[in-house]
Structures are given as structure tokens and as C-alpha cells.
């Protein structure tokens, strides 16, 4: 299977620029710099690359929303605030192949006529900050970044910014607020970041994995990338698999790869002779799938949506038969209650309320009406907030309860 992201991930010296260049690193950037920015955007559009942060919005189209003749500078912000439970793919890329990200960012910046770019790194990833900063320093020293990128008449600075540990800052407008030095609160849209983003200027926020896909696309051409995957989900995708699998980790597969094959082959299957119970395919915020629902499902945006879940960030969590679903849901609900920024009412009050009810339930203090109350709270929260954090809590609550209701009822006194 072709690798577009993890081709050098197992090379221990891939963090050193000298070795990176020997392996062909930054060649795609050199090629991109010989192209017209407009042609570059067309190339990315043609590749069918979609945002890998979770929403799956076409990257080339996102870029094309940036106004061409703005009197303000354009900014590219790399969203490296990866903190969705179950998701650890960006971390792998940044830890093991930081120059791939820098190269991808430089390509994107050139295409967007952006001269100042930031990497917004999750606060808890402080250990990666050292790796990234070293790679940035090397890139400056090698003339890849700075006043003259690869000797061309194009200046680019990339700064690393460490967040302070708030999940909400992975939402692009909160990320922008946080980067501006404000409290990490999502903004009301419109206006969208493409026109009014960082410092009220045109801004593109792209996920680490999205940016890391660019060098391969430029080096091999959009047609080669678009040849992989399904009709609407092109290329390859990283999945970070955790939970009850023999080989948890980060794997790259072609879009449309069968889910059960991924669990049984790449992930090494469910260990200890236990049976598969459920799978959260795309990070804790997407609906859970029962084992029987996973049969025949393919790993791409459309197939998972059809199956009643979502591809999300590709953070796959596998549950075997020993998992008590109310407890698993309680952990997820606690996470969203803890991470709700508190700005809008339904999320602030609803996530906390739901988490408390669930804690009560698993402590054996719940009552049957609490189960329907949880579903009511989900209805009251859904679609009523500025950002999707409340919805991210709604989906597991609703899917866990409707699909495993008897387990919740067993916990209740009558």
C-alpha cells in the first residue's frame, strides 16, 4: 500500500534535516516554488484532499476562500492542538517527521501568499515542542525558512506557539482567539477565518495531517493522489487505534479500506480471545458502532456516515466484550464537561449535567427516568451552540444509550 504520510516514520534519524534531504525531503517544496501559487491551489483542489482534523472540508476549496486582493496579510495557522480522546496521529507525525510538517506548511504558505505562519501546539505536547523547534531552527539554518525560502524571492517565518491545555483551542476560531492572547472562546461565524481570522486578517487553519499530505501530492501529482481512495474520499488517511487491539498505534491506509480488516490485520485483532463489542471509529465525539454494525463498513467519509457514524479525526477506539458501556460513556462525558469552555449556555450547563447524571448512574444511585433525561439533555444541547463541542457530547450520549440501553437500565434502581 502506498504511504503518503508515514513513508519515513520508522527512520529514527528522520528528525535530522540532513537525513531528511537525503531521503528526498523538501524536494516537493522546491517544485512548488517553481509553480504559480494559483496553479498550486488548483493542484490541491484536484487532489481531492479533505481536512484531516475531523470535519473533512476540501482543503483546496478552503484555500480558495481567501480573498485575493486583501490589504491585510494572510496567515496560515497549523492546528496541532490534537486532543480528541483516542486521537494521536498528529503527535506521531510531529514527533517522528517534523520536517514533513514544515515542508507542507511552506508549500501551503507559498500557495496562499502567506509570509507568517504559526504552529499552535497542544500544551500537553511540550516534549514535541523541543523536536519541532529544533526542526524549525534547522530549516532556518538551511535557508528553507527565513527571508529567502530555498533561495527564492519568497520570505516565510514559522513560529511555534504552545497552547495552555484547553481542548476547545483545537476549534479553529478558539485557536485564533488563544493565539491572539485572549480566552479560548469560539467565535460566532460568519465572518469566517478566511476573511476575518487571526488579527482580523484572512486566515487558513489547517490540521497537521492535512499539511503533511501536501509534499506527496506536489511531488507525485494530484492525479496520483486522487487515484487512491474512493470517489469522494481521496488519498490515504491516518488512523490512531487504541483500546482492545493487539497492536495499538498509528496506521496509514487508503481511504475506503475495510474497517474490520483494519481491526483484524493492521491492529492485530481483539486480543485474549475476546469478542469485539463496539468501535468508535473517528474520535470520542462520533457515534459508537456495535460490532455487527462494523461488518462491511469502509473507512471513508461517506461509508462511515452511511453506517451512522463519522470518520472524524480517525481516532479509533476498540471495545471488547468486557467494556461496560455506561462507564465508557461516563469517561467521555466527563471529558466534554471538563473541556466545555463555558461560553454558551446549552454546552456549559448540559455537558456538566449529563456527566453528573452518568456518574450517579454508575455509582448505582441512578433512576430509570435519568436515562431519558440524558437523551433529553442531548436534544436540548444539539445544534444550539456556537461551536460543535456540545454536539460532540451529544453523539456519544445518544448512540451509547440507544445502542446499549439495557446496560444503563441494569444500573438503575426501580
Amino acid at each position: 500500500m502506498i504511504k503518503t504520510l508515514l513513508m519515513n516514520i520508522d527512520e529514527p534519524d528522520q528528525v535530522e534535516i540532513g537525513r531528511v534531504r537525503e531521503r528526498g525531503g523538501y524536494a516537493a517544496l522546491e517544485k512548488a516554488l517553481r509553480m504559480e501559487p494559483a496553479a498550486l491551489i488548483e493542484e490541491v483542489k484536484a487532489s481531492g484532499l479533505r481536512g484531516r482534523g475531523g470535519a473533512g472540508f476540501p482543503t483546496g476549496m478552503k484555500w480558495s476562500f481567501v480573498p485575493k486582493n486583501s490589504d491585510k496579510p494572510t496567515y496560515l495557522l497549523c492546528n496541532a492542538d490534537e486532543s480528541e480522546p483516542g486521537t494521536f496521529k498528529d503527535r506521531k507525525l510531529m514527533e517522528c517527521d517534523p520536517h514533513l510538517l514544515i515542508e507542507g506548511m511552506a508549500i501551503a504558505c507559498y500557495a496562499l501568499d502567506c509570509h507568517l505562519s504559526y504552529i499552535y501546539l497542544r500544551g500537553e505536547f511540550e516534549f514535541i515542542a523541543h523536536t519541532l523547534q529544533k526542526a524549525l531552527d534547522e530549516a532556518y539554518e538551511a535557508g528553507i525558512l527565513g527571508p529567502s525560502v530555498c533561495g527564492r524571492d519568497y520570505a516565510l517565518d514559522i513560529y511555534l506557539h504552545l497552547g495552555q491545555g484547553a481542548y476547545i483551542c483545537g476549534e479553529e476560531t478558539s485557536l485564533i482567539e488563544s493565539l491572539e492572547g485572549n480566552r479560548g472562546y469560539p467565535r460566532i461565524k460568519p465572518p469566517f477565518p478566511a476573511t476575518h481570522g487571526f488579527l482580523a486578517s484572512p486566515t487558513v487553519v489547517n490540521n497537521v495531517e492535512t499539511l503533511c499530505a501536501l509534499p506527496w501530492i506536489i511531488a507525485n501529482g494530484s492525479a496520483a493522489y486522487a487515484a487512491m481512495g474512493t470517489e469522494k474520499s481521496k488519498g490515504t488517511k491516518l488512523f490512531s487505534v487504541s483500546g482492545h487491539v493487539a497492536k495499538p498505534g498509528v496506521y496509514e491506509v487508503e481511504m475506503g479500506y475495510p474497517l474490520m480488516d483494519f481491526i483484524n490485520n493492521e491492529s492485530g485483532g481483539v486480543p485474549n480471545g475476546r469478542k469485539l463489542k463496539a468501535v468508535i471509529p473517528g474520535g470520542s465525539s462520533v457515534p459508537v458502532l456495535r460490532a455487527e454494525e462494523c461488518e462491511g463498513v469502509l473507512l471513508d467519509y461517506e461509508s462511515l456516515l452511511k453506517a451512522g457514524s463519522m470518520l472524524g479525526s480517525g481516532g479509533m477506539i476498540v471495545f471488547d466484550e468486557t467494556v461496560r458501556m455506561p462507564e465508557a460513556l461516563s469517561v467521555i462525558a466527563d471529558f466534554y464537561a471538563h473541556e466545555s469552555c463555558g461560553q454558551c449556555t446549552p454546552c456549559r450547563e448540559g455537558t456538566g449535567w449529563a456527566a453528573k447524571i452518568l456518574r450517579n448512574l454508575i455509582a448505582g444511585k441512578g433512576k430509570r427516568p435519568d436515562i431519558d433525561l440524558l437523551l433529553k439533555i442531548a436534544d436540548m444541547m444539539e445544534g444550539k451552540t456556537i461551536c460543535p463541542l456540545a454536539d460532540a457530547d451529544v453523539m456519544p450520549i445518544r448512540s451509547f444509550i440507544t445502542k446499549f440501553r439495557s446496560e444503563f437500565e441494569e444500573l438503575c434502581s426501580n
Binding site: 480566552r183 464537561a337 463555558g342 446549552p346 456538566g352 449535567w353 453528573k356 436540548m380 451552540t385
Partner: protein
């Protein structure tokens, strides 16, 4: 001009109007907490969600622009269910301590609960998030974090109106609370406004809290008497006592705000002993009470005697920049028209402060009188005589023999007030004959020949002309105990005694005469002087 339909009603609005504003124009109220017309939109409370046809999700009406052809529903089942849900969320962790809450009776949580909620709480008390109940936020404001709906109006007020930024959110999720950094005091001169804009009982007034249940209060429209800005306000009172002053929204003057000094100015009025009966100094040099009739006849004949013996130039008309337009008008009618006085003054302050000079860039002005512009527009100043100092000088030289003086102590005090007051005392001592119309007793009042007790701001109907030349009406809220009369009535009596063939029975009658007689005020009607007030001619 986009045309849209709200609940079947078609309306046309200015481009840039939001749905919530458009609904207001159509007389449809959309429930809300965080939206405020004089603050930037924040969109956090989610109460104002409405259905816009062809939009998949409900939209917040405070941040969604009205566009051509838009069809909006604010009261269908889907919207009502959403509002009910948000309200239930707001009450999940609310302490529901209405019986001991000062906001009860004017609380948006109570109001909307009665319209949209009426649900039974599904969360037991012990599951509620606890926060701090009594947080001292400085001289004006007390915070109860548990009652807060986190609408950020107070935070936005300090960020965008005063630009002082004292308040902020702390914490995350349902543990978010408002407060000041390191509990620093909230002591900027506009802090009281956040009590007004707080839609619930989180921010209460240190001055007003626990004094009176709001449903016992009567409200009277007024204009602040604290400075020349003339902010539109409302006097809340009960049984002759003023309990609090609140802003009335006037986009042309004060938007929704008041300064703290203006807000507290009624305490200054209540402080100090009042003059309650007319007094005339006898041959023994002691003042003795007389009835109004006698006082007025005595003043009229004495003034005319002095005029006849020494000429009208020997009499000074000293008006007050705190008196109403009506008072100043009849003062002028009597003094100039009947006695023939030409020498007028109204400032006791030594420097000729500009009426328009700002004390800060929000509301407060240096001139601490509500009607200096009225006195100027009525021509009650004669620059060639050198102000009050010049008058004292003339009196000492024997050129000036009598003075009719209206004196109100300023409602907002400044260190220079004592100096100004001592000049008035000096003037009284320097003339042979002095008639003083006053509301409050002062030491030097005993030296006046005649003292006439008058009502003050909040106790009479009348109008004031602010620094812009805007005429605004103030209504009588309370009636003081005693035989006081409004200044205009005193001069109406003097005019009657003097034989003027016109009479006025109300302040409104005087206003009508004023607008018929005085060029600057010509044509202004009583109705026009209501919100936002009418501008005088630039004469």
C-alpha cells in the same frame, strides 16, 4: 432596505439590522440575556434562537442580519422548545433563592420562566454547582456568582464602554464564574451600570439592596441633575422617599448609562436640613416666618422701592444653573419685565467653565449643573459686569444695592463648591437687600433679608437644557414636607402681585409661554421634549 417576514408580519428595516432589532421594530419581543443594544453582540446565551426558513439550524437573532425575503418564526413549537431548553439549562445550577434576592420582580429568569418554563426542576439541590455567594466588588456592586447566567454584559461593559476591563470569566465549563482579577475592587466611576444591565440577581447595588422590594416602587421619568450632560433617568420612589436612580435609554445623550455620582446624587438632596417656610428679616435683624402672600408682596414692593430710588442698575438677578427652564424664564419675566433689571448672572463658580467641557470621554461634564445651557440661552448672564466677583465688588462700592438670588447646592459635589458657596454668602452680606430662594439651609442664609423655600430637582415638573442644547422633561417624583414652592411659582406669584396680566397654573403652561417668547426655544412642543428631547435653536 431589506423586507422580511417575522411571524407572518412583513416589515422593512435598515440594512445592517439584526433579526432581534427587526422584531423589536415590529413589536415582537424575542427573549434574550446577553444581547444589549448598547454593547457589542456576544451570542452566548442562546435564548434568542429563532427559526429562519431555509436555514438548517436555529439562528441566534442577535447576530443574524435581516435579509431580503427572510422568513422568521419566533414563536413556533420548535423555537419555544429551544427557548424552554436554554432556560432549563440556565436554571440547572441556579440557586433559585428568589425570596432573598434583590432582583426578584425585575429578573429575566423569573419573567421568562413564567412565559416559557413552568417546568419542574429535574436536578436535586445537592447536585448543583456551588460558587461564591457574596463577593464584594467595590463601592457600588455586590456579586453573587451562583445567580449569574454568564451573559458577559458586565464584562463587555467594562471592555467596550469604560475601557477599563476589570471583569473577566474565570474557570471553565459549568464552573465558570465572573469576577475581577485578584479580587481587585471595581471602583471606576461607572461601575453601577453593571447592576442595571445584569439581567438577573448576580450583580446587585450595594446602595439599594435590601432596601425595598421593587414592586413597591413607583417610577417617574426625569433627567439627571448632576451635571450639564443631562442623562435621561428614572426616579424610583416610595412614600416620598427616593430609593434609586436608573438610566432611561436615550441614544442621543447617555445611551443606557449613568455615572455613579449621578446615580447617587439623590442622597445629596436628602442630606441636610430643608428651608420649609418663607422668612423675612425684621427690624431686630432676626428672620421670622411669614405666609407666602406677605413674603411676595414685601419682596415686590421693596425691589421696586430700591429701583425707584437707585435705578434698576442697582439690582442684580442671580439665577441658578440648577433651576428649571420654567423657573429661569419666569425669573427673567419678573426681574427684567417688571422690575427692569438688566444685570444678570448665574455662576457662583469663579472660572467660566465651559458647559460642554468633558470630565471624561463617557458622560461626565465639568459643569455640575443640569441647566447652565438654559441660563445661557435665556440670556441670564451679563459678561460686562465681571461675574459674581464683579457683583460683590459693585455691592461693596455701593453701586449694587439688592440681589434676588436662586441658590441650589450641587447634587454632585466637588472640592470647589465651598468656595463658590462662600461667594454667594459674600454677595448677600455685601448688598443691603437680598432675596434668596433656597432648598437647603446654610449658615449664611440667616443673613438674607428674605428667604423663600423652594422645591428642588425631583420635587417639581420642569425642563432642563443640557450641554447640547437639548430640552428634556423631568417630572415630579416626590413632594417634600413643608411650605415650599417651585421657583417658577414664586415668580408667577411675584408677576401676579406686580400686575402682569398673565397667569400660569402648571409648569407645562410656563413651558408653552417660554416657547412662544424665547427665540431659542421657539416652536418646541411639550411632546418633543420627551425622549430623546428637542434641540433649541442655535441663537
Amino acid at each position: 432596505m431589506p423586507k422580511l417576514t417575522i411571524n407572518g408580519q412583513e416589515i422593512e428595516v435598515e440594512p445592517g439590522t439584526t433579526i432581534i432589532q427587526a422584531a423589536q421594530v415590529a413589536g415582537i419581543e424575542i427573549p434574550h440575556y446577553c444581547y444589549h443594544p448598547d454593547l457589542p453582540v456576544d451570542g452566548n446565551c442562546r435564548m434568542c434562537l429563532v427559526e429562519v426558513e431555509r436555514m438548517p439550524k436555529l439562528a441566534i437573532s442577535c447576530a443574524t442580519l435581516a435579509t431580503e425575503g427572510m422568513v422568521v418564526h419566533t414563536n413556533n413549537d420548535r423555537v419555544k422548545e429551544s427557548v424552554r431548553g436554554v432556560l432549563e439549562f440556565l436554571l440547572v445550577n441556579h440557586p433559585v433563592d428568589c425570596p432573598v434576592c434583590d432582583q426578584a420582580g425585575e429578573c429575566r429568569l423569573q419573567d421568562y420562566y413564567m412565559v416559557y418554563g413552568l417546568h419542574t426542576s429535574e436536578i436535586p439541590l445537592e447536585m448543583k454547582v456551588r460558587k461564591q455567594k457574596v463577593v464584594d466588588l467595590g463601592p457600588m456592586v455586590v456579586l453573587d456568582q451562583e445567580r449569574c447566567v454568564l451573559c458577559s454584559r458586565c464584562i463587555r461593559f467594562f471592555d467596550h464602554v469604560t475601557h477599563t476591563g476589570e471583569m473577566q470569566f474565570f474557570g471553565r465549563g459549568d464552573h465558570v464564574a465572573i469576577g475581577t482579577f485578584e479580587n481587585r475592587p471595581l471602583d471606576n466611576p461607572y461601575s453601577g451600570n453593571v447592576v442595571d444591565i445584569c439581567p438577573v440577581g448576580a450583580l446587585t447595588s450595594r446602595d439599594f439592596r435590601f432596601k425595598c422590594r421593587v414592586w413597591f416602587l413607583n417610577s417617574t421619568d426625569s433627567v439627571c441633575g448632576g451635571c450639564s450632560t443631562g442623562c435621561s433617568m428614572r426616579i424610583d420612589h416610595r412614600d416620598g422617599t427616593v430609593f434609586r436612580l436608573l438610566p432611561r435609554r436615550n441614544p442621543e445623550v447617555n445611551k443606557s448609562w449613568l455615572c455613579d455620582e449621578g446615580r447617587m446624587s439623590f442622597h445629596e438632596l436628602a442630606a441636610g436640613e430643608r428651608v420649609r417656610r418663607p422668612m423675612i428679616k425684621g427690624r431686630d435683624g432676626m428672620q421670622a416666618p411669614v405666609v407666602w402672600e406677605e413674603a411676595v408682596r414685601s419682596v415686590d414692593s421693596k425691589l421696586k422701592e430700591i429701583r425707584d430710588n437707585h435705578g434698576a442698575g442697582s439690582i442684580l438677578g442671580f439665577a441658578s444653573p440648577s433651576a428649571t427652564n420654567e423657573a429661569l424664564f419666569l425669573f427673567k419675566q419678573y426681574m427684567a419685565g417688571q422690575v427692569g433689571v438688566t444685570r444678570f448672572e448665574f455662576r457662583a463658580d469663579s472660572e467660566d467653565k465651559s458647559v460642554t467641557e468633558q470630565e471624561d470621554n463617557i458622560l461626565r461634564r465639568v459643569d455640575k449643573h443640569p441647566n447652565s445651557m438654559g441660563a445661557i440661552k435665556l440670556g441670564l448672564v451679563s459678561k460686562e459686569f465681571g461675574g459674581i466677583e464683579g457683583a460683590i465688588e459693585s455691592a461693596r462700592e455701593g453701586k449694587l444695592r439688592a440681589g434676588v438670588i436662586i441658590y441650589f447646592k450641587p447634587l454632585v459635589r466637588r472640592p470647589t463648591d465651598e468656595e463658590a458657596e462662600s461667594r454667594v454668602a459674600e454677595l448677600i452680606r455685601a448688598v443691603e437687600y437680598s432675596v434668596v430662594l433656597a432648598a437647603h439651609k446654610t449658615d449664611w442664609l440667616a443673613e438674607a433679608s428674605v428667604v423663600l423655600p423652594v422645591t428642588a430637582w425631583s420635587e417639581e415638573n420642569g425642563s432642563y437644557t443640557n450641554y447640547q442644547g437639548r430640552v428634556q422633561l423631568a417630572r415630579r417624583a416626590v413632594t417634600p414636607a413643608g411650605d415650599m414652592r417651585p421657583v417658577w411659582q414664586v415668580f408667577a406669584l411675584l408677576l401676579a402681585v406686580s400686575g402682569a396680566d398673565i397667569s400660569w397654573s402648571t409648569a407645562a403652561d410656563v413651558f408653552e409661554s417660554l416657547t412662544e417668547t424665547e427665540p431659542a426655544y421657539r416652536g418646541i412642543t411639550y411632546d418633543e421634549a420627551r425622549l430623546p428631547g428637542a434641540l433649541v435653536a442655535d441663537i
